[in-house]
Every structure is written in structure tokens, then in C-alpha cells.
């Protein structure tokens, strides 16, 4: 038997941020990474993106927090997290030991909070990149405000950029009229790459009780239901920016991931799919490799962005 030919799955997201494959996990769906160790090897993934982190621990919203919807789910967790101190003490060492590529998603309520947190994370070893969350729809202060106003977003990214030399990813909200405009603003402000999309705002009501299902009334929609929206937004952003884009939204299989790569995403993040099958991220990485081998494509970078558009576009 001949040895399988090597497929080069590596992708570069920024100077100093090269992933062994394009499959990352989406913040808020992968805990702090180690919860998934019974199901996959963290170092098999392109990167682990940890649960959104704030300066201090955050309780999040009261229950009910989730509701299944057709081919998707609504959540209003409200950025519950253990805070940066507990993360650095209790979680980061395990991620390092597992040799994971670690991207820390973080947020604040003010520019100063974002900057302070970026500074703390910048001083740590074992963190490979930061993902700025300017797009959570489920909290009242901060978050989404920065995510819907291009000027505020650019100001925030520029301030964080001055604070850290770590590769910076900015995660965009789809709840805007001009996603490409947001992307251009954060790219010009110094973001190394862009990840999109966060959840779409949604709502569910209960006819029986006459009340909203979620205690927060509205929530964020994720899962396969939002994949077409995400693909469209990745496509639109890539028309306007030169920096790498990470596609997120309803990816549950290698085929889904490959669709984002075809459109031009350099990498993808798996979110809600992790809940359904905790081993899915590793399966998707293996599935991408198998697809490329079948097509005799030796590097994933050759496949990325190979979408053939009709001439009128």
C-alpha cells in the first residue's frame, strides 16, 4: 500500500498566526476547550476559540436561555463567563498542555475595559490571537453597540490594536444594513482578520402562556438556518476587504465548511454543531482533507476562493 499523499491544510490568518487546518471553534459553543477533550484532540483543530471573556466574572441572563427553532436555536446566555483571572489561572494552562492553538474571545462594556483586558491577555504566554467580540446581541451595554456603528467599531479596534501585538480578529454582527462597511472600518483600524457572522437577533413566543419563551425576550439565532445568510455576508465582505475572513454560521459538516472556503473564507468556525455532535469539529477537518484528496488538490489554499461567478458579477 502506498502512503497517502500529504494534503497541506494549513492557512495563514495573520503574520504569526498560521493554523494547521482551517477548522476553528466558535466562541460560546466550545467552553474553554477542555470540556471537549473526551471527544477530540484539541491540537487536531485549527484553533480553539474560548468563551467570551470579560475583566470580571459575569452571570449572564436568567433562564429560560435557549429555545430550538426550525433547523436552528435561539440563545440569550448573556455572555456568562468566569472572568479573566479565573481563565488564566484555571483554564489556560490546560489548553497549553493540550497544545491547542488558542484564540481568546473577549469583550467589555467600554473602550477602556476592552483595552485593559487586551493588555492583560497580551502579557500572557500561550495565547495565539485575540478575537474582539463587538457583536453579542444579548447584552444591554457594550457589545452590539460597537458592532453596529462603523466609527465606534473602528475606534475600538484601533484602541485595542495599540494595546497588543497579538494577531487581532474582529467578530462582526450580521444585524447591520451594511456588513461590508463594518468590515472595511475594522480592517482600516488595524484588525488582522474578520470573523463573521455572530447570531442573528430573533424571538420566540409561547402561545400557551402568552409570553416570550426567553427570559431576555429576544435572543440570537444560530444553526443551519442561518448558513445562507452567513455565506452571503462572507461573500459581500470579501468584495471589499483584502484581509483574511473567517466564515461562521450553521456549519455542521465538511461540505458546509468547504462552501465557505469556496466563497473565499480562509478558515471557518464551528458553533452550534458542537452541541449536537461534540466531535464534529475534528470530523470536519478530516472531511475537508478527504474532499481535497479526492479532487487531487494538494493545498487547501488552492481551493479557497475558487468560486466561479457568472460573468455579469
Amino acid at each position: 500500500m502506498t502512503e497517502k499523499s500529504m494534503i497541506d491544510l494549513s492557512v495563514s490568518l495573520a503574520p504569526g498566526l498560521c493554523l494547521k487546518n482551517p477548522v476553528m471553534t466558535a466562541s460560546g459553543t466550545f467552553g474553554y476547550g477542555r470540556e471537549y477533550e473526551p471527544y477530540l484532540e484539541l491540537d487536531q483543530l485549527g484553533a480553539v476559540v474560548t468563551k467570551g471573556l470579560s475583566l470580571r466574572p459575569k452571570a449572564g441572563n436568567p433562564p429560560p436561555r435557549i429555545m430550538e427553532t426550525p433547523c436552528g436555536m435561539l440563545n440569550a446566555i448573556g455572555l456568562e463567563n468566569i472572568g479573566v483571572e479565573a481563565f488564566l489561572r484555571d483554564e489556560l494552562p490546560g489548553l497549553k498542555a493540550a497544545k491547542a492553538t488558542v484564540v481568546v474571545n473577549f469583550f467589555g462594556e467600554t473602550v477602556d475595559e476592552y483595552v485593559e483586558l487586551a493588555g492583560i491577555l497580551d502579557r500572557e504566554t500561550g495565547i495565539d490571537a485575540l478575537e474582539i467580540n463587538i457583536s453579542c446581541p444579548n447584552v444591554k451595554a457594550g457589545g452590539l453597540q460597537f458592532g453596529t456603528d462603523p466609527e465606534m467599531a473602528a475606534g475600538l479596534v484601533a484602541a485595542v490594536r495599540r494595546q497588543t501585538s497579538l494577531p487581532l480578529i474582529t467578530k462582526l454582527s450580521p444585524n447591520v444594513t451594511d456588513i461590508a462597511g463594518m468590515a472595511v472600518a475594522v480592517a482600516e483600524a488595524g484588525s488582522d482578520c474578520i470573523s463573521l457572522i455572530n447570531t442573528l437577533t430573533g424571538m420566540a413566543v409561547d402561545l400557551q402562556s402568552g409570553r416570550p419563551v426567553l427570559a431576555n425576550v429576544t435572543g440570537g439565532l444560530s444553526g443551519p438556518a442561518i448558513k445562507p445568510v452567513a455565506l452571503r455576508m462572507v461573500y459581500q465582505v470579501l468584495q471589499k476587504v483584502k484581509i483574511p475572513v473567517i466564515g461562521i454560521g450553521g456549519i455542521t459538516s465538511a461540505r458546509d465548511a468547504l462552501e465557505f472556503l469556496l466563497v473565499g473564507a480562509t478558515a471557518v468556525q464551528i458553533g452550534t454543531g458542537n452541541f449536537v455532535n461534540p466531535a464534529v469539529a475534528a470530523e470536519i477537518a478530516a472531511g475537508i482533507e478527504a474532499f481535497l484528496r479526492e479532487r487531487s488538490i494538494s493545498r487547501v489554499s488552492e481551493f479557497i476562493g475558487s468560486l466561479q461567478l457568472p460573468e455579469s458579477c
Binding site: T29, F30, G31, E35, Y36, P38, Y39, R56, P57, K58, A59, G60, P63, P64, R65, I66, M67, E68, P70, C71, G72, M73, N75, I77, E80, G83, G223, P224, T252, T272, N274, F275, V276, N277, P278, A279
Partner: protein, 272 residues
């Protein structure tokens, strides 16, 4: 906890809206299982990823090569399982969460098991676990709205006839069998009748569990409650199934039903 493909070996109608379903599993599952633990079961039988999320169910009974769930059809997911054909292959994740603390409860002078409605499922597996391993005197109190909605009663009666240390009481809301009223009334009388203080293990509707927690606290009895919740993952990452703990502060008010429970010491929770 393991992820595995499971074959539906049997599905049996029990009442118009409840059914049992027997699912194949690896030996490792049976070895790891503790009564009170649960499984997440894929219900996307006919259409891939629709419904999207697995559903949580308490395990009711272990067999040699399989386990059984007792399910009440209440929505789309359970409705699909109610129709599922033998031979269907489903993805299953489990056993998940923490079961009842067997070592602690078997060390007490008396155990009171209380089940309301479909809450009999984990209590039945706990009963079997206790009967198999030796136990102090057992008091089993089961209730439902009507006689027709009582579950597993034939089998429970048989167990009570065979086992000297097991006493069975039944309550129905409409009085069609047993005590005319709530299981919590039976529990209250038992606690007031004196004798050894029991440890209470219970599963059922939330108001029943809240009432039991109060009764146990008043009588200074230990009380373990099995809670249920919607959950997306079942293993502690989605944070969708939190409930308030008693000693929490503003920044750490929650426990996760999936991972910290589903069985909790009632003392540690602030239900309502």
C-alpha cells in the same frame, strides 16, 4: 460519557401519551451508568439535523446490552420518538451528569423515593440499583393525575410484594387509585409519624420538588431532587440549563442542571 450509534430495539406504548423505548448501547455505557444520569438522544430520524438538537432523557432501566427510556410525548422531539420504528439507528451521548449519591443514601437508616408522573423514570432506575445492591428500608411513593396515568405500577407492586424492605404508596389527584391527593401529603404524614429520619430522593413536576424541598428542610432530612430542563448540549458548554443556587452571589448565581445535576441536594438550590 460516550458518543455512540444506538439501534432502537423496541418501542412500546404505555399510555396514550407515554411510551418506553429500548436502545442498544456498548458495555462501557452500562458500566459507567449511575441511577439518575441521563442521555442526549438524536431525534432527527427522517430529516438530517431537523430537529437540530438532541433531547435529554433520564434512563429508566438497564438491560444486558441496552437501556430503556420512559418518555412522555410533549412536543416535536418526543412526538418523533413516539413513532420511531424498531431498527432505527440514533446517535446517543451519555451517560451524562451526576446520578443519585448511592453511597450517601444507602448509609441512611431509611430511604424515601418519591415520583410524580413521568418523574418515575430515574426513580425506577434508582430503585433497581438499590434493590440490586442492598439497602435500608425503602418507602416508595408514586403519584399521577389519574390511575390511567400511573406508570410502572404493576411492576412496582410486584417488587413491593417480593421485597420485605420495600413499601409502596400511591396517590392520584382524582382519587381513582390510592390516596386522593398529592404525593407530598403522603410524604408529609410519613415525616410527621416519627421513626427514623429518611433521606428523600425525588423526581417530578417542579412544584412537587419545591414542596418536597421545604418538607425535607422542616424535618431536617436530606433530600435529593432530579431536575429537568431544555438543554442544547447536555455536557456543560451551552449554558442553556442553569438554575439558581442557594449560596450564589451576583457574579456566580447558577448551577448547570446538565453537569452539576441533574440530581441536586435540595439544600443547595433556590428553586423559585
Amino acid at each position: 460519557m460516550i458518543l455512540f450509534h444506538s439501534t432502537v430495539l423496541q418501542r412500546e406504548t404505555i399510555t396514550p401519551d407515554t411510551f418506553s423505548i429500548r436502545l442498544s448501547c456498548p458495555k462501557e455505557f452500562l458500566q459507567r451508568f449511575n441511577p439518575g444520569q441521563f442521555v442526549m438522544v438524536d431525534v432527527a430520524v427522517s430529516s438530517h439535523l431537523d430537529p437540530l438538537l438532541k433531547r435529554p432523557f433520564s434512563v429508566c432501566r438497564l438491560r444486558d446490552d441496552s437501556f430503556e427510556l420512559l418518555v412522555k410525548a410533549v412536543g416535536r422531539g418526543t412526538g418523533i420518538l413516539q413513532q420511531v420504528a424498531a431498527g432505527t439507528v440514533l446517535s446517543v451521548h451519555g451517560p451524562l451528569g451526576n446520578g443519585f449519591p448511592l453511597a450517601t443514601i444507602t448509609g441512611k437508616p431509611k430511604i424515601m423515593l418519591v415520583a410524580g408522573g413521568i418523574g418515575i423514570a430515574p426513580i425506577f432506575s434508582l430503585l433497581n440499583g438499590l434493590l440490586a445492591s442492598g439497602h435500608p428500608p425503602l418507602e416508595l411513593i408514586v403519584g399521577a393525575r389519574t390511575a390511567a396515568e400511573l406508570l410502572c405500577t404493576d411492576e412496582l407492586r410486584k417488587r413491593a410484594d417480593q421485597e420485605k424492605g420495600l413499601q409502596l404508596s400511591i396517590a392520584t389527584d382524582d382519587g381513582s387509585v390510592g390516596h386522593h391527593g398529592l404525593v407530598t401529603e403522603l410524604v408529609s404524614w410519613q415525616l410527621k409519624s416519627g421513626g427514623e429520619k429518611p433521606v428523600i430522593c425525588a423526581c417530578g413536576p417542579l412544584p412537587m420538588l419545591i414542596a418536597l424541598g421545604k418538607l425535607a428542610a422542616e424535618a431536617s432530612c436530606s433530600c435529593y431532587l432530579s431536575l429537568e430542563s431544555r438543554m442544547a448540549c447536555g455536557f456543560g458548554v451551552c449554558l442553556g440549563c442553569v438554575t439558581r443556587k442557594k449560596t450564589g452571589d451576583d457574579r456566580h448565581p447558577w448551577v448547570k442542571i446538565c453537569q452539576d445535576g441533574p440530581v441536586f441536594d435540595a439544600e443547595t438550590l433556590r428553586l423559585l
